[in-house]
Structures are given as C-alpha cells and as structure tokens.
Symmetry: C2
C-alpha cells in the first residue's frame, strides 16, 4: 500500500500575454493531471458564442457582483472595459483544504492580489513567447482577429510582459509538449516542498523515530 | 533552433540516513541527467577496497587537508571518527559559472555549512524511508553489515532524520523509479526559477519588448 501523505493544495497561477499559449497549456494540464481543477471566475460581461455558464465563467449581473465584493467572497477582482471579473473564494478554500490544487488563468493584476492574500499557497508561472514574430503568428493563426487587432494585442503584450519579474518561474514556450512537461515538473516539485507538508511529515517522522529507537535497542525483533 | 538561455548552475543536495536510498538515487540521477556532475570530496581516510581515487574521493593526507582549510579552499568540511572530509570549492565554482549543476551526497552538517555560504545556489532534498522496517531490510540486503551493525545504523538514522525540517523538499522513498522521477522534477523546476535566470531573461524581455513595439506600430511589416 503506497504511503500517501495528506497535504494542503496549492494555487497554481499561469499568466502570459495573449497568444503565448497559456490557455492551450491550461487545457493540456487539466487533461494530463488528476489532482488539479480550474478556478472558474465570475463575470458581468455577457457570454460569447460557445461559452458555457459555470464552465468557462459564472455569468452574473452587476448587483450580484457587487454583493460578492461587499461580502468579501472574491479572492481578487478587477474591472476591464466596464466589465467586472473575479475569483470566488469558497471553491478555492474547499479544494485546498481537501488537498486538491487549483489552476488560475489570470493576469498580473489578479496575481498580485492573490499574492497579497494567499502568498503561502501560491505558485506563479509566467509564460513568454520565444519572439514577437512567434506571438504574431499564433495570434494570426487563431483566425479570431483582424491584423489590426493583432497589432494592438501585440502592443498590449509588451505591457503584460513587463511584469515577468513578479513571478516564481519563467517558461519560454517554444514547444507546447516541452512546456507542458516543464509545467508538470514545477507542479510535482512544489507538491514535494516541505512547507506544504509540515503536519503530515512531522507525524511520519515521529513514527519513524519511535520505530527506529525500538529496533535499535532490540535488533533481533 | 531552440532558444537556450544561459543560467547559473545550481547546487543540488541529497541527504538521508544510511539505507534510505540516497546513493542509489544519486547514481541513477547522474546516469539520467546530462547537465549535472557529482561533487567529489577530499578525505584523509584510506581508500576502501573498490574505491577509486578522484572518482569516489580525492584521497589526500592530513597536511594537504590542513592546507586546503587554511587557504579557504573547502566549501564545507568535517571530522568524523578522526578522518576529515571536505568539498573543494574550485570545481563547484567552475561548474556553476558554466551553467552546470553540481550534485552533493552529504549529511545535514555539510548541508548546513553550504547553506551558510551558498544559500542562493542551493537546493536541498531530504530522503526519508517509508518505515523503519524498510530501512532495516535495505541495510540487511546490502549484506555489508552484521545485524548488530545494522541496529546501530538504525539508531544513528533517527538522529539524521531529526534534521529533515532544514531541507527544501522531502521525499519518501518507497519506489526508486518514482523517487527518481520526483528528483528530476525538482531539478527541472528549480532550473526554471526566475531567480536563477535574471540576467538572460532580462535580455530576452528587452528584445521582445523592442520587437513588440515596432510590430505594434507597424502591423503590416
């Protein structure tokens, strides 16, 4: 029977400029890993075609959003172009207590707010494109945007990227499979950090200690 | 052409009580990984049958050891049962500057000395046995020691283990292959830490920034 030590879950943040591969990598990670779930944000913006309520976002109205804020039910929130976005606190707390990890697909502003309130549980990864040309090609390939919109996203990317130094780990996404391997290595390593497993490790060591001393005294047993 | 960012190497410490699998795992890691080399200690104790000079240890005499200490040429050193052991500084510095990682198979006392002098480069892993019985079985299986010696090693193990909380990562070694995977994940993740790649990442971001701004202004280029 393998010895599974209970631990508190961790909050795993992936940030990047649009087009650097963050959303694709998030999906790949959720497919590949058992013990991690996506944090679903609340938003006041209307659903876009294809977006599913409670899967992509929880779509709520402005009074509902204001009530969440007033009751401190959001871990972080922001207003972008007149729409509000936020991270509900309760599902995150539940997952962490149950030893499950939570994935956050958020920008540097959200990350900064999480750092202020949940630093001990937080692991942050910033994904960089290998070159501006690679970013441009990926944005064009999506086919969602005109070349002019792509150019404006590129300008915005520069200001996103300027926050890379606020993150724990930096990934240059040249190849999606290699990047997924790196992201999973970071997750595996962080799960082995002593800081996250203090209580259960202390219990294991106490048991080992008793066993070792009794075996040492009584070698033939 | 993959984009390889230069970085400073890191110092990777594996510690454990005798019999928990540290030496086996060190060998497996050196076999599996290209970019890591073992730090070879100097010692004044005589070579045991099968031990090779400059591979397992650099075997030196007491005046030579004293000269190393006097010239601050050892990163850490200790005396155990009248024999001196130490880690030569120069090969470690050379490897780190060249972006190669260095593996240390040392105990908590050596680790503590390294932490005092090289904290920023250091990543420390402590390997625990899953149970005292598993440790006893592994020590007996080696066939090197009588059951009485095994019992005394078990008592010593308890005092080694009492230092687990001074390490960054804790591994419970139930299965060697799984443990190797975990050790490699820790190494991969630590190589992606922003802190170790500040200079080269800053240069990459500066280049991206220039490219993005010029592409943003001039979208048709």
């Amino acid at each position: 029977m393998p010895l599974t030590l209970a631990r508190r879950g961790l909050m795993f943040v992936l940030s990047s400029p649009s087009g650097a591969g963050k959303t694709t990598l998030s999906h790949m990670l959720l497919q590949a890993e058992q013990n991690i779930e996506l944090s679903v944000s609340v938003t006041t913006r209307p659903a876009r075609p294809g977006e599913r309520d409670h899967v992509d976002y929880h779509f709520i109205d402005k009074p509902q959003f204001a009530a969440h804020v007033a009751k401190y039910e959001l871990l972080e929130w922001a207003e972008v172009f007149g729409n509000s976005y936020g991270t509900p606190r309760a599902p995150v707390e539940q997952a962490l207590s149950a030893g499950r990890d939570v994935l956050f697909d958020i920008d540097w502003q959200g990350t900064r707010q999480l750092k202020a309130s949940c630093a001990a549980d937080l692991v942050t990864v910033f994904i960089l494109p290998p070159s501006a040309e690679a970013l441009r090609q990926r944005l064009l390939k999506r086919g969602q945007d005109s070349e002019v919109v792509v150019a404006s996203r590129m300008s915005k990317a520069a200001s996103e990227i300027s926050h890379w130094a606020e993150y724990d780990y930096i990934l240059v996404n040249e190849d999606l499979d290699e990047s997924l391997t790196s992201i999973r290595a970071i997750l595996d390593a962080e799960r082995l950090k002593r800081e996250r497993r203090k209580v259960d490790l202390a219990a294991l060591v106490e048991r080992l200690d008793k066993e070792l001393i009794s075996t040492g005294i009584n070698p033939s047993v």
